[in-house]
Every structure is written in C-alpha cells, then in structure tokens.
Symmetry: C2
Subunit: 322 residues, 2 copies
Amino acid sequence: MFASQLKNSVRKSKTLVDKISSPPLAVVGTVAIDAVETPFGKRDRVFGGSASYFSYAASFFTPVSLVAVVGEDFPQEYRKVLEERPIDLSHLHKSEGKTFFWRGRYSSDLNSAQTLETQINVLTKFNPLLKFKKQPDFVFLANIDPALQLRVLDQLEKPRLKFVACDTMNYWIAHQREDLLRVLARVDCLVINEGEARELTGESNLIRAAQKIKTYGPDHVMIKKGEHGVLLFYGAQFFALPAFPLESVFDPTGAGDSFAGGVVGYLASTGRLDFLNMKRAVAWGSVIASFTVEDFGLESLRRTSWKMLRERLAVFRKISKF
Amino acid sequence: MFASQLKNSVRKSKTLVDKISSPPLAVVGTVAIDAVETPFGKRDRVFGGSASYFSYAASFFTPVSLVAVVGEDFPQEYRKVLEERPIDLSHLHKSEGKTFFWRGRYSSDLNSAQTLETQINVLTKFNPLLKFKKQPDFVFLANIDPALQLRVLDQLEKPRLKFVACDTMNYWIAHQREDLLRVLARVDCLVINEGEARELTGESNLIRAAQKIKTYGPDHVMIKKGEHGVLLFYGAQFFALPAFPLESVFDPTGAGDSFAGGVVGYLASTGRLDFLNMKRAVAWGSVIASFTVEDFGLESLRRTSWKMLRERLAVFRKISKF
C-alpha cells in the first residue's frame, strides 16, 4: 500500500529509497482527536491535529517525518490513515495518558472557529527527542506551544537547515509572546492567519503587518485569509492568490495546516526556494486546502487523486489570469 | 483645459468629437457633499457622491454623461473639478434646496463606513429627464434610490442598451427590496459589496450569493471585497483579482464607485463585452480605486496620470502571476 501510493504521489524523486528512510521534511505539531460542529453537521470524533493535516498534505509531494505525541487511546485506525502515505512515523511517540483533544464550532460564515474545549493531555509532558539518520533539510513547526518549537530548533540547527517555517495561533500570541518571538527570530518563514497577523503586530493593514513580522526575523511571510485566499511576502516581493471558488465549505478545520503541508511539501520535493517556486508552492498549498475543507478531518484528502489536484491547479491559473 | 485633458486621457478614440457631444456612457447617481472621519484625519467638506466618483474614474477611458442633481449650495469649485475631465454636465441639474449630504466615519480596519448623518435634500425631488442627442450604449446606475434607477431605465431601454450595470447599498436592500429586484431584472451586471451581496441573498458563501443574484436577472456579477480584491462572475465563468497591496488606505470613500467607473469606462471605450475584456476592465477598475483611497475625495485621482495607472496595472499582472 505504502509503496504503491508513493509511486503515485511522490514526484520525480531520483533517490526515493533514501528519501523514505530519511525524509527531507519533518513536521512537529499536534496529533489530535477533534470534535467538530459546523452548520452542515457534527462529529464527535474526528482525526485532527496540526501535524496530522500537515504531514498528510505534504505527503502528496514528498516523504515526511511526523514528530508528535499521542496517548494510549489513540485509535489504530487513525494510525492506519497516516500509514497510507509516505509518512515516517518513527517520531510519533506514544505516552501514558490521553491524546490531545479539541472541540470547536464554526458559525455560518465558517471563517473562524470557536474553541469550546481543549484537553492538553499528553502534550503537557511532550519533549520531542529527534534522532534522524540524516537531518531533514526542511522543517515545519506546526501550531504547538512555542517552547516546544524552540526545543525542536535547538536540536536541529546544526548543520544549518535549508528552510524552516512555522505557524502559531492567537493563544500563543496572547500568552506566550516572548517564546513565540524567539521562534520567529530563528525561522525563514511564518505561515499565519489574517486575524493572528493583526493580533501579533497590532497592525490592521496586512501589508504593514507582514512588514513588521519580517522585522521579527522571517524573510518570508504567508498570510492565510480563508475564503479570500493567501498573500505571500517573499523578501521585498509580493504575490496574492485568490481562494479556490468553492460553493460549499463543509469543515474548515485543518485548512491552514494542509495549506502549509502543500507549500512546504512542494518546496522540499523541488528543493528550490526562489520566488517563482515559492509562488507555485503557495498555489499547490491552496489546492490541497481546497480539498481538505470539503469533508470532516482528512476524509476528503484521502479521496483526492493527483489528477484532481492537477485539475484544480489549472483552475487556479485560469481564475487569476487576465 | 478640457481638450488637453481629453487628449491625454481618452484612448484611441477615432470619433472623439462625436463622443464628446454624445458620450457613449452615462451614469446616474448622487453628487454629494461629504464629511468624513478616518483614523488618519477628518474633513468637514469633501466633494463626494456615487456619480461624481464614477464619472471622474470613467473619464480616464471615455467621455461620460453625468446625470444627477445638486442644490443651490453646490460649490463652483466642485463643478470645476468635473470640468477638468471629459464629463458632460448637461444633465447635472441644479434644484432649489441643498445638495445631498453624507457624514461617515471609518474605524481602524477601514473596511466599512459608519453613517453618522444623511441629508437627502434635493434628492427627494429628483426626477431625471434624459434628453440625449444620441442615446449612450453604456449606462451605469450608481448607488441611489432604486425607484430612480427604474425611472432612468424606463427612458433608456428603447432601443436596447448595449450594457447596463448597477450598484446599490444595504439601505435599499433592507427598505426597498421590491424596487431593487425590479432593477436587477433589467440590468446586465450588478456591482456590489461583499457584505451587501450576503445581505441581498441570505447566502454567506459568496459563490452561492453570486449564483443567486444571477437568478434575479444580471448575467454578470462583480463582488467588491475591499482589501481582499474583487470577484467577477461572468456568466458561468469566474475570475478573482486581489487588491492592490497598499500600505495605507487613507479614506475608502468612493472606492467602489471609482472601481465601477474604471470598469464601465473601459468597457465603453473598447466596446467589447467578452470575458477577457471584462477581466481587463475589472483590473483597470481596481487600479483606479487603488488611487482613490489614497486621499480624501477625488484629490488623489486628480493627481493621477496615465503613466501611474499603467504602472499599477503592470503590478496587478505581476502579483497574481505564478
């Protein structure tokens, strides 16, 4: 299963065997059990978490190491979902206790989630110890406590990584700003929501917000705007991509994480960090996210073929050309 | 003054003299005195109104007839602003009483205005009587009472117009829905704000909102999203353009009206209504609007040259290409 999927999903990899045993990309973040309410339905148990969405999305482009922790209650069926793909699970630790749990609700506009309940559970004791055969060149610090993001950076920075990006959320901006700024000083790229970019910088204008974020450290900033698409600030250059025109968004959970997975997965698979390649990465990330939101959890991505991805990329090119 | 401006501003017009005496485009709407507060400044008297912004913007592309009413207090200096451009003022009526007055305030996000005061004044008695030498092929019904928009349509529909578009606002959606729906049944294109599209249709998803609007009559819908750009629904086709990346928006008043002026002005100057031309029109409209918001009233547009417009169009092409 793994091998046949790889054949279809990993593009033009000359050193596939090496890549599988030592993926060029690693993500650290959460693997979670979610409970989600949207205007279109309710589900009490959904496979979620920032690192789950990221790694599944990235695996369309490249093998990826998932660095995370789960509890004793983590369902075998969720693990099997990850095993469908070229996702290295040797850094998916199992700890005593329960898996991180998040319960959220989306109102009718679907643009922002209301968190109803968070159970940190095994995350409280999570201390990622990284033992890669070969250090990945690309690392994504998905949304998780910035103190943990720092501990990962401490273990990875020598030799210098080729590209490290991170995400964060309003909670860390409000409650752990110092650690977050330490992370930002050490990453190449921040991937952040529109509202969080404003909250982090105190700037309501997103162009100014991005410029301010660059003074914190990152050379590049990606601002995710949901139905309004995404802005890329690449050094002094700028790119804007609209969102895929979806008539119905079923569940926005994981859209941002799978966007980032598509972006960094594509970058890792191509190994290039020039502006044009970064723009293409943003487009691929947007394509992946447009599928994620069409069902609960990873269910839509699991049904998504390369043909479907390519078709939507073509639509993206078409809708923004004049 | 008029002629020299024309030379610079009207593009490739072979029948310029005819066009000036019988402009191919007419707009009906308001000419107003505004009072505006933004986070960056306050001005007690600003030349405003939907038809003023529209006609000034459209005049970069084509001569335009302005159909509106002003009061006895309408300043001569405002009239002179319109006279700078190829704007036919023979349908700008002067009535007893005071000019339409609007006072509004923008909060820090600049995305929506709070109306503090409206004095309808001479608009209460406005009954546009159109006596064109030659009926314009293109008509824009700018934001004004839909009953007035209907009266204009009644005078213009025979022979069939080539293209008629309209704008509206939340007040008419809430209080004069029947008349508004009668207008929509008779226009080719609606140009509307994001929030108003949702209010008009009861659909929070903008793709569905546009589809619903098309069932009311218009073949085409343009949804203005401020800092998030604009969506064009052209029959069954779709186009999305991001906003020009402005670090500071000084005063958003008139952005939507000058967007529409750029769009319909460009269409009228080219005479073509195919999808590609409509996309280009949307881009030109966005260019014009990006200048409007850089100062109070028409002040920024008055300083804007064709060279500046062309430079921004090139930026638009660049920022959305991948």
